[in-house]
Subunit: 430 residues, 2 copies
């Protein structure tokens, strides 16, 4: 049943991921052909620096004119691994207009303009697949879109950024501070020269937006995601976490809020119990925990980045889109029918671990406890520690809204006896 006319594939970008995609397309050509039902042919590669040597790629295929490439009109599939918003967005929509389906690894673009891109794909009857945009090689988009399509997902809780997990794991296991761990991550190539997108949570927030959208059949944009980075996590926080039987991870959390009539999405560092499967995710690995009505708790684990793993996800999509082309059909498009409102961070309900520096004199605990009570935040445990005339209070709360906790902290700061709020960290995964 093999079709002989090859599927023509254009590659936009030929960096770490793109070159690996091109390599596997060549070395595994027979396998891909058998799985798709038609041979695949690399029809063009758009790059910024054409003079760079690209092993195994016919120089005649290389061009700097990506726009002309996607306008050729004879392409079946465009693989976009440039990243960033422009020119990727225009190139993808142009590809649809000129008859190609698209496989993308572009989380930032999908998180910002997913709805418009899906609409463009649907308008032209083409596929838009992007398994590689979230958690690298880990099959996650397809299981959420398809395997769990008959279930109701209530929560997605994941480690979706390998750089920050490497740093936090290093801090946890060696007692290193943030800067020292970041330096090691940079030296080993786990962190980029400018690590902002990772350590400030932008990368994870884009993935959270994509995951929330798919999990809840609702459009969630990057701007809807509450984002806190992990640059202020300290060795002292890890010591506190250990005392609680926890570790600290940068988590992306998407969940139904309140009675399920709205959704929230957020990224922030959080304490998580050592017994939780996410606590033992080491190094630069990613893992995503999915909780749903019928299937209970599922976890997906694997390498979250890297050329080869990301290429594996791209090629899985390439096979699926290729099969669809051969069969004259398209796969599932955007599913946003539920259209739930996205609630603000203030409505998120969770537990909190708060460290306060306080005056070491009688009555302080009573004052502090009163402030919590006035804001409706119930205290689970309090621990007092004296140190050199000063004292610290560690308060762990029961579940409370972020708004209530925020009000509590604001009021605590106004107390004369509270010298400072040393840290506030959410406690998740219980």
């Amino acid at each position: 049943m093999m079709r002989t006319r090859p599927l023509k594939v254009a590659l936009l970008g030929c960096g770490v991921v793109g070159s690996e995609v091109a390599r596997i397309m060549t070395t595994h050509a027979d396998d891909l052909a058998a799985r798709i039902g038609a041979p695949v042919e690399l029809a063009g590669v758009a790059v910024r620096r054409p003079d760079r040597v690209r092993e195994g790629i016919d120089p005649a295929l290389v061009t700097t004119d990506a726009t002309a490439l996607v306008k050729r009109g004879d392409l079946d599939i465009v693989v976009e691994v440039i990243g960033g918003i422009e020119p990727a967005r225009t190139l993808i929509t142009t590809a649809f207009e000129h008859g190609a389906s698209v496989v993308s690894a572009n989380k930032a673009l999908l998180a910002q303009d997913g709805a418009a891109l899906h609409a463009a794909a649907e308008e032209h009857g083409k596929d838009l697949y992007y398994e590689a945009a979230v958690a690298g090689a880990i099959p996650l988009i397809r299981p959420l879109r398809e395997s769990l399509a008959g279930d109701k997902v209530n929560r997605v809780l994941g480690i979706v950024n390998g750089t920050t997990n490497f740093i936090l794991d290093k801090m946890d296991t060696t007692g290193a501070g943030y800067q020292e761990a970041l330096d090691e991550a940079t030296a080993l190539g786990y962190a980029e020269a400018d690590p902002t997108a990772d350590v400030e949570g932008f990368d994870a927030a884009a993935k959270a937006a994509i995951l929330a959208g798919i999990a809840f059949h609702t459009r969630v944009r990057l701007d809807d995601v509450h984002r806190e980075g992990m640059t202020e996590v300290t060795a002292a926080d890890f010591a506190s976490a250990k005392e609680m039987g926890c570790t600290i991870k940068l988590l992306a959390i998407c969940e139904r809020a309140g009675d399920g009539a709205s959704v929230t999405a957020r990224v922030h560092p959080a304490m998580i119990p050592l017994g939780h499967p996410l606590a033992s995710v080491r190094g630069a690995y990613n893992a995503v925990f999915v909780e749903s009505d019928a299937s209970g708790q599922l976890m997906f684990y694997g390498p979250g980045a890297g050329g080869a793993p990301t290429a594996s996800a791209v090629l899985g999509d390439l096979v699926a889109v290729g099969r669809n082309r051969v069969g004259g059909t398209t796969g599932p498009g955007e599913s946003a029918y539920a259209a739930l409102p996205v609630s603000s961070m203030g409505e998120v309900v969770t537990r909190y671990h708060i460290s306060l520096d306080v005056a070491d004199k009688p009555g302080v605990l009573a004052q502090v406890a009163t402030v919590f009570a006035e804001h409706g935040v119930s205290i689970d445990t309090v621990r007092q520690q004296g140190k050199d005339g000063e004292a610290s209070l560690v308060v762990v709360t029961h579940r409370a809204s972020d708004a209530a906790l925020g009000g509590t902290v604001e009021a605590l700061r106004k107390l004369d006896t509270v010298r400072g709020v040393a840290s506030i960290m959410r406690v998740e995964g219980e």
Copy 2:
């Protein structure tokens, strides 16, 4: 874009899984309709005992004549959750002949007759989906068939039977013997009254056959799977495992053999290092570890059985097949193009932990070591322990073929100084 004519679904079997499928089809009808693009209608339910009360199911839909039901000719999808070979096999092929696609949870049937069923589906241009047949709710078939379609899978290593994992976990954590742990599993409903299919590894072997077939694009039948149960695992084995920094799991292992020109599939108890992600899979949970060229190591974790989780997998397939019907297409069928030979157990290469009861006199170790050397099995470590005039030798080997190890053990048994071979266990996951 909603189609108004509903998709007609027939349910074969209405036990723990079937009743949950029916329940979710009713309670989540709107969600399913939105995700499929057409409403779904329960058109008939075939059962053995029609007098049993079935909450929420219109008694007019219930029939004992499954054959007449699948022959109706107006069905879109038949969901088979009867299990076993017949009448399930005939009902499924009859369903294809009369125009329906099929969603099945039947691992035994798929492992035995998957090729014939796929051929029947293809002949009639229908879908055959069976995500629920392996590892319950865990999305595994679809990720392997689709997400990893652009990658080369080298090994699948999994805990795919919840009953045996519950028993082994109990033995590990409480020091209980096999019978005691089995009794508790039975009392808690994790083991059936006749636990043979689980504890003798038949259930896991069927799943191994299905996984190997999909992972290696090769037909692998139940008979091709080497199978050893876990009824002979003892508390002493767990003690030995602990000394090695390991625990014991019943593993399904599918891997490329030798130079990758053949495949093997096997189920047996094995020691696995505590640091391996599979070692911490507790209770009745399942987890499957997949190693591939590009994506490295992936793990899929979740509940491996139970009505609701299995129903979630069935409904995910129902949505996919329903979408295909609405779109007038079918999903990927059998992929067996690689057609690799299946090697016998003798060609499997792994490490071994062997406990010998030996005479406590000089020269025994030299004798034993000579036998290993003569069979080309290289020893990693030996530990001697004296006990009451007798002694035990614990030998851990380097990697060797199962055939070489078998020859070694046969020769050891003939030594006068070897009183008995107390246990042989493979060491995996390193």
